[in-house]
Assembly symmetry: C3
Homo-oligomer: 298 residues x 3
Amino acid sequence: MWLEPAPLLGAGLSRRVLLQAGSRLAAGGPGRARRFSNKAVLVEKEGEAGIAVMKFKNPPVNSSAWSFRQSFRHQPEKLENEKSIRGVILTSERPGTSPPPHDMKKKDDQPTMLSTGRLVPGAVAEALLVQPDLISAINGAFPAGGCLMALTCDYRIMADNSKYTIGLNESLLGIVAPFWLKDNYVNTSGTEQPSVPFNWGRFPTNMTAAALLTLHRSLNEVVPEDQVHSKARSVMAKWFTIPDHSRLLTKSMMRKATADNLIKQREADIQNFTSFTSRDSIQKSLHVYLEKLKQKKG
Amino acid sequence: MWLEPAPLLGAGLSRRVLLQAGSRLAAGGPGRARRFSNKAVLVEKEGEAGIAVMKFKNPPVNSSAWSFRQSFRHQPEKLENEKSIRGVILTSERPGTSPPPHDMKKKDDQPTMLSTGRLVPGAVAEALLVQPDLISAINGAFPAGGCLMALTCDYRIMADNSKYTIGLNESLLGIVAPFWLKDNYVNTSGTEQPSVPFNWGRFPTNMTAAALLTLHRSLNEVVPEDQVHSKARSVMAKWFTIPDHSRLLTKSMMRKATADNLIKQREADIQNFTSFTSRDSIQKSLHVYLEKLKQKKG
Amino acid sequence: MWLEPAPLLGAGLSRRVLLQAGSRLAAGGPGRARRFSNKAVLVEKEGEAGIAVMKFKNPPVNSSAWSFRQSFRHQPEKLENEKSIRGVILTSERPGTSPPPHDMKKKDDQPTMLSTGRLVPGAVAEALLVQPDLISAINGAFPAGGCLMALTCDYRIMADNSKYTIGLNESLLGIVAPFWLKDNYVNTSGTEQPSVPFNWGRFPTNMTAAALLTLHRSLNEVVPEDQVHSKARSVMAKWFTIPDHSRLLTKSMMRKATADNLIKQREADIQNFTSFTSRDSIQKSLHVYLEKLKQKKG
């Protein structure tokens, strides 16, 4: 029996949703708000400013996660081809809910997981180098895939609300974040403190904004909840005074080595992960966690 | 004539004390507070929670430093074998005193120092990857070896008391921190600012907690003095919701390359250090510092 | 037609001014304030403390930028040879003005730019490892070369004044910071967030000191404007309790790899830069920016 790990699934889901949604933006005409929606995401392009807001809707999206992901891989290119979009703000439609909900369902075969393992790192590598600027406006719970989504963004603004959390929760499942998720985390936070990946998402954020910023160094700003979106817009407006190609080249200079390494090492990573998660002890650990989750929800 | 450098000695002493003390914890029965003590450290295991508190006692321990260190090397393994201990809080027994006091005594031969140089990095490499979580509850002066001890921990909580200091003081002696101490510092602080290693420990911490956290980026939290221990316990309690093997694997993912490099480079490091400290100018510099210390104390 | 990029020019100018001015300090007698000035910089050595203050004067210095830079390369050695200077504070003579003003004039030939490209990285590599401690007391606008100057310092103290800015502005010109500027930025800030290089200098700093420190992680302290200089002096006074050779060796340990890589890669960097900036699209982008600047000033 195989359990599909949350980080891969969450990541795959969120990225795919993001990117497929982005690719549809070309359909509307310029100069007016356009709306697109699918099961998981609502996209609004705002006037002429070149900003699109991507609002993640409430779950459930679990059952269709895999089919969603099939067309995931080449979407970043499409998003790049939507020239009128210079920046994307990622946020929750209903504050307090998780943008990329976990899919903790069992997977029935190993090949599926392996395919996932191959798709997601490739998509992350592309997303790291995508043309539009990405800003996370964090107004809810952003664990696992939500955290990965935030880490691939260029900027992270969090609402100062003690109910919200963000972070990696792989270790809670008894597994370990893949190296490419760790690399993105270290690049944004700047530290290699081993405590950070497992405490980041699990700490209640009921502390001052300054303390939160120090502890969660991947965050760029913590602002009052009603200013998360306006702040994201004002940051982006300033960035737009910079030529698009300069922003993209800067991004590439900072991230290309990480993205290249991600692609280079992913086969070995899949082998390690497969071998690790097939151990009886790890399977047992995953089940314990899933049972707890079920009891919590039921 | 040879002077044994403080960082090596402090480090060796503190680690050895930590680890030998840890290995004795198995002696008591579960479910009740147990106490062990030796000349330098008092260990209390607290109930069933899996937390042990290691309280460093007041000096002087200088004279016995070398004999302490002899059995230092293989202690991390023993600590790992004490399965009932999932986390260790390192702190001062009497707030305000230094956990690993300096041993500034002369050493009478070069082989002794070289042995020390071989023992300490190996022990640090093991400590970096040890199973129990380690949290420093910093309620006193933590220079040199105390700082190294804090840097090998998974988390650092400091009391908001302007009398306390933490940092590397090798440069005050006219020598330079060994590369593996620098590597640990850079990994936790995230910066390669050259000023940081030599100002960290020497700055009075009479600034706001937020400013202190920004300046001393290896620190994770600064809290009121009476909350240092309770904070350490609550952080650890949260970590314990994560399976032990996940925490250990996360630690390994973050630190293994540093630990491996430490082992690989230590011979060359010893050669450099020996050659450097044998210069007349450096010996003179060490003497000047020691004389100042004597006058201060006397 | 060739445009000389601001970062190289600004950098070249500021370093050269700094270092040439430093080399003249030997002329005065010890024990009294000495003054030297040239078109761009005013240097005062303060008594016996071993501190020199280097005050950058108001522009215009644009027209003579290139001639200034000719003798730039070997100045760090001279500064090191001035043994009575143990630390240098870099600041603005008239608060609010930019220490190393941009030279946005057209350059008439490619060889000039290439020479610049060869001179500046070499000088930066030397400056990174120079003997005196360098502290930036930031009381004005420090873009581009001013930012590079600050990044090569050992410490950065900024006045808490919302009118002041610091950061890299290459991307505004439609070009990209050279790799060695990026490396220095990453080393001091500790993060590889792609947003940071292009937002750092452009954000108004009208936020709390704590938020500013979190966002601009290369800064060490933010203090009230009237305390910038006294703070720099007190930091330096503490450093001076450390033997000079220890401070220098610590600096070397932290920066030598970066400096070596800078020298090693600079030829390839020049090739890339030349090829990049000779594209029509980039030339156009540079012109657009320059026109905007002209309109602003005129």
